[in-house]
């Protein structure tokens, strides 16, 4: 990190520090969510029902146009050449054969790439979203094995690919760090996550551990992971004078437009990013080198560019989840009460990014204990910048913590669910804040009953059916409620009772557009058929990132604000002849196609009548969401209890998942159909993490060895059992709609539930993911 970045980071930390001292002390009524959202009381509307995806018919017909499918005249196709060393310089570069190849329009290297500013690193400003702050193709230096060193534009993709293969690059290698052990030997730094150190100390946990009557002290390891969205990264890019249009597949349209504008030294409103369909994201669909290179090439060539990464290209220039080495040590009284909770360890990063896989986040509010020692240290390596991947921190952190709790339960001879319930905190164990909504114990009890937990083999390795050893395992799941600042919504209401809701949000399969329409329909008192949702376009006001499971809350709060503005505007238009005359926006709600006095339903007027009398065809309001102070006032999280039945073949060591149940406590569930799918999706990605997923990194040269879907194994249909999902459906009184985002919690706890089930089946404890059969033979 540069000095400037460190200073920015520190300043951000100070502001957050002051706020975090004041906001908890404020009265509830000053805080967003202090008064429950009235929609929580609506029990007979669309919320809480099963609604099929509104974009479903388009997608099953193959008619949704993804970023690489946008038609443009005079289009050129791009191919990239990637470095084959981890660090050094380009010594020789011969592009003559490529330039002479059929169909070639441009060969771009550091010699002729336009001058561009380095991307602003994610988190360094409200809109900065560079995955790394390395300048892109500005000089001959190489920083990771796979860095783009040349780009070819041609009339067809085949011509571009062929010409790229003709470029000869010679390298002068310089010393690099590509082995984790070497990186650790060079020294560690405490990880900083959004300006705050990843460290929590309460009491003397090491001393408490040493004198605890029962304890365990273990090391767990998780490998690198790749998101592997089935849609590879792609963009279709065109300049119109100094205005740039990017048809992209991204989780951050507004931030990307602002960051790209900075890179090219143009105003933010000169870049428009459109992304209506994202073919899977999971944290990976952000701003990487290819959009920047594609835009640069389009500018140099004076023609539109389609840059669609090959699958290998995605591995080379899009980062994944980094590896972790975690220690969990637990000290406990004979009754199971934790006296010490230690969770620390090391992750790898690069010098150019800021994603220290924060595996202690879930531990911070997971359990009560007398003492805590939590930290994440980072070391740097020459590798592709790692990034967010579904539940960054919690997904791998819960593997370590929840495995360790299972090990302690074994040591104590206490049922692992009972041990967890015994250490259930009554308030946030570190911040002391009250929980906004925590019903994890209820989720445990409901899950245990539905799964039939009492049939768990009491002794590991004791149940055998033919060749198969059978075991049950469980683990807690957890992910925070987040709501990021900057969200906005625009509502256009027409005289005939139609509403257009515009949010700069994203649909990558979460069902966002459908739930947004459902919620807006209820909020405005209109049938869902009369609601249109427009999204995925940076010209819509506000910034709503599809990350941190926050879109639902961010959109919810923005629509609350815009709806309030709409009510105020309608009351103004209604004037003195309306039955609503003299009422303030606080006294009025939307119902049945109009406004109604909240405590007197006889005083109402329809939207059509108000607009008709005012001789208006439409009313348009745009409003920012309230600042998300609720997160500093309450400890806000989602929870889950995960249950797994694993069957391990005693002959081959093969593990099959026979059953899986997720029992969730994540506020009120808005759309039961899409929510079930999101939970299952997270769980299935967790099964992959548990049993097969690993980005294999050659520690000799920093090269990713399995950059393909043939060699990076994902769960396939045959690996996925019917996954049972239940939820408490208890509304969080302090969030919009009483809901929490649920995109990430599903993956948390899964790997531990599987590892614990494998232990119960075999007596073998695997602390090093993935649990491949060689580790069980």
């Amino acid at each position: 990190m540069s000095i400037v970045d460190t200073a920015k980071s520190a300043a951000q930390g100070v502001v957050q520090g002051v706020m975090s001292k004041l906001v908890p002390l404020a009265p509830d009524s000053w805080i967003p969510g202090g008064t429950p959202d009235p929609l929580i009381r609506h029990q007979h509307g669309l919320i809480g029902t099963e609604v099929s995806r509104l974009d479903g018919p388009l997608k099953v017909r193959g008619a949704a146009r993804f970023a690489a499918e946008v038609p443009l005249d005079n289009l050129t196709y791009a191919a990239l050449v990637f470095s084959t060393i981890a660090r050094g310089r380009i010594a020789t570069l011969d592009t003559t054969a490529a330039e002479a190849a059929p169909g070639v329009v441009l060969v771009m290297t550091h010699r002729n790439a336009p001058q561009m500013n380095a991307p602003a690193l994610f988190g360094t400003s409200a809109t900065a979203c560079g995955a790394s702050n390395l300048p892109v193709m500005q000089d001959d230096s190489i920083h990771w094995n796979g860095q783009p060193v040349a780009l070819v534009l041609a009339e067809t993709q085949d011509q571009a690919d062929h010409a790229a293969s003709l470029i000869a690059v010679g390298y002068a290698a310089e010393p690099s760090v590509t082995a984790f052990a070497d990186a650790k030997a060079k020294g560690k730094e405490r990880g900083l996550f959004f300006g705050q150190p990843l460290e929590n100390i309460v009491g003397d946990a090491e001393a408490a551990l040493a004198k605890a009557p029962h304890s365990i002290d273990r090391t767990y390891r998780t490998p690198r992971h790749a998101h592997n969205a089935i849609e590879p990264h792609a963009a279709t890019i065109a300049w119109d004078g100094d205005t740039l249009l990017l048809h992209d597949t991204t989780q951050m349209v507004s931030s990307e437009a602002a960051t790209v504008a900075d890179i090219f030294g143009i105003a933010a409103d000169q870049v428009r990013v459109i992304s209506p369909y994202v073919g899977g994201g999971f944290g990976a669909k952000g701003l990487w080198d290819h959009q920047i290179l594609g835009a640069a090439a389009a500018r140099v060539a004076g023609r539109p560019v389609r840059i669609a990464l090959s699958r290998e290209g995605v591995y080379r220039i899009v980062g994944g989840r980094t590896l972790t080495e975690q220690r969990v040590a637990l000290g406990a009284e004979p009754d199971g009460r934790f006296t010490a909770l230690i969770h620390d360890g090391t992750v790898a990063m690069t010098p150019h990014n800021n994603m220290p896989e924060p595996f202690i986040l879930g531990t911070r509010s997971g359990y009560a204990a007398d003492s805590f020692k939590l930290s994440v240290d980072t070391v740097t390596m020459n590798m592709m910048a790692n990034t967010f991947m579904r539940a960054p921190g919690e997904s791998v952190g819960t593997f370590a913590l929840e495995s360790a709790i299972d090990e302690l339960a074994d040591e104590l001879g206490i049922d692992p669910i009972a041990l967890r319930i015994r250490n259930e905190p009554t308030k946030d164990p570190l911040s002391g804040l009250p929980f906004s909504s925590r019903h994890l114990v209820a989720a445990w009890r409901a899950g245990a009953e539905r799964f039939g937990w009492d049939a768990r083999p009491a002794v590991p390795g004791s149940r055998r059916e033919g060749e198969w050893l059978v075991g049950f395992g469980c683990a807690a799941a957890t992910y925070p409620y987040y709501r990021m600042p900057g969200a906005a919504a625009r509502i256009t209401l027409t005289r005939d009772g139609e509403a257009l809701i515009e949010v700069a949000a994203h649909e990558m399969g979460m069902g966002t557009t459908t739930t947004t329409a459902m919620v807006a329909a209820e909020r405005l008192g209109l049938p869902i058929e009369r609601i249109t949702v427009r999204y995925g376009d940076s010209i819509i006001p506000g910034t709503i990132m599809a990350g941190g499971s926050q879109q639902t809350a961010a959109i919810g709060a923005a629509v609350i604000a815009a709806h309030r503005a709409l009510v105020a505007e309608l009351l103004k238009l209604a004037g003195n002849d309306s039955p609503l005359a003299g009422l303030s926006p606080d006294e009025v709600g939307s119902e049945d196609g109009g406004l109604t006095r909240i405590d007197d339903a006889t005083r109402r007027e329809s939207y059509a009548s108000i607009l008709g009398r005012a001789q208006r065809d439409t009313v348009v309001v745009a409003e920012q969401a309230s600042p998300p102070l609720e997160q500093m006032h309450w400890s806000m999280h989602s929870y889950g209890a995960m249950f797994c039945e694993a069957r391990v073949n005693a002959v081959t060591g093969e593990t099959r998942i026979a059953r899986f149940l997720g029992s969730f406590d994540t506020g009120r569930i808005l759309n039961h159909k899409t929510a079930r799918s999101q939970f299952r999706g997270g769980i299935i990605m967790g099964l992959g993490m548990a049993l097969m997923e690993e980005t294999q990194f050659d520690e000799r040269n920093g090269r990713i060895m399995n950059p393909s879907l043939a060699e990076y194994h994902l769960p396939v249909h045959a690996d996925v059992p019917d996954i049972d999902v239940i939820w408490t459906d208890i509304a969080d009184p302090h969030t919009p709609m009483g809901a929490h985002g649920i995109g990430e919690i599903g993956i948390t706890g899964v790997a531990a539930a599987v590892a614990n089930a494998v232990h119960n089946a075999t007596g073998r404890r695997v602390r090093d993911l993935p649990i491949t059969l060689d580790k069980l033979l």
């Binding site: 099929s52 193959g62 849609e231 994202v278 994201g281 399969g509 799918s677 999706g681 879907l709 249909h717």
Partner: protein, 167 residues
């Protein structure tokens, strides 16, 4: 030379390197068939050739002179969704929708294979008629990857469609 795509003839490409997938997506503006890996590992590019499911990324377009290719765009008739497409919507057999066209085309080809009695790795009796149990469906659909994790909904949709076709 021509190839029949969804009932209409199309010219074969001049460049013999052009895959059937790129012909569909880049030349014929039929991007419903998806490119997930371009190396036969993900199934997103599955189309039907004379009723058989193939991976169009591993097929050179020039090989298919005179053959009938059906893509996802060719399944819906008169604007109405194919029953399997409808079942995918009802059972939420997708999230992002990118693997979906391949899953649907693959499932149609798979049902035809089963009807012809072609056994799979999990078939108990190699010579018996194929009964498409859940395990059979999961085995036979495993060449179509889904990363969002819609597997349960996909198998539910295919299962319902097969039951309706059989009835």
């Amino acid at each position: 030379m021509s190839i029949i795509i969804n009932g209409s003839p199309a010219a074969l490409p001049a460049d013999p390197r052009t895959s059937l997938l790129d012909l569909l997506r880049d030349t014929l503006s039929l991007p419903g068939t998806k490119k997930g890996c371009n190396q036969g590992a993900c199934g997103a590019c599955t189309v039907l050739v004379d009723g058989d499911r193939i991976l169009s990324c591993l097929a050179l377009a020039v090989q298919y002179d005179g053959r009938h290719v059906t893509t996802i765009e060719g399944l819906a008739e008169d604007g109405a969704l194919h029953p399997l497409q409808q079942a995918f919507v009802v059972h939420d057999g997708f999230q992002c929708g990118y693997c979906t066209p391949g899953q649907i085309c693959s499932a149609i080809g798979m049902a035809a294979e089963a009807k012809r009695g072609i056994p799979s790795h999990v078939s108990e009796d190699l010579s018996a008629d194929v009964v498409l149990t859940r395990a059979e469906l999961q085995e036979r659909m495993s060449g179509n990857l889904c990363r969002c994790g819609a597997h349960n909904g996909i198998i539910d949709a295919i299962s319902e469609y097969n039951t309706e076709v059989a009835a």
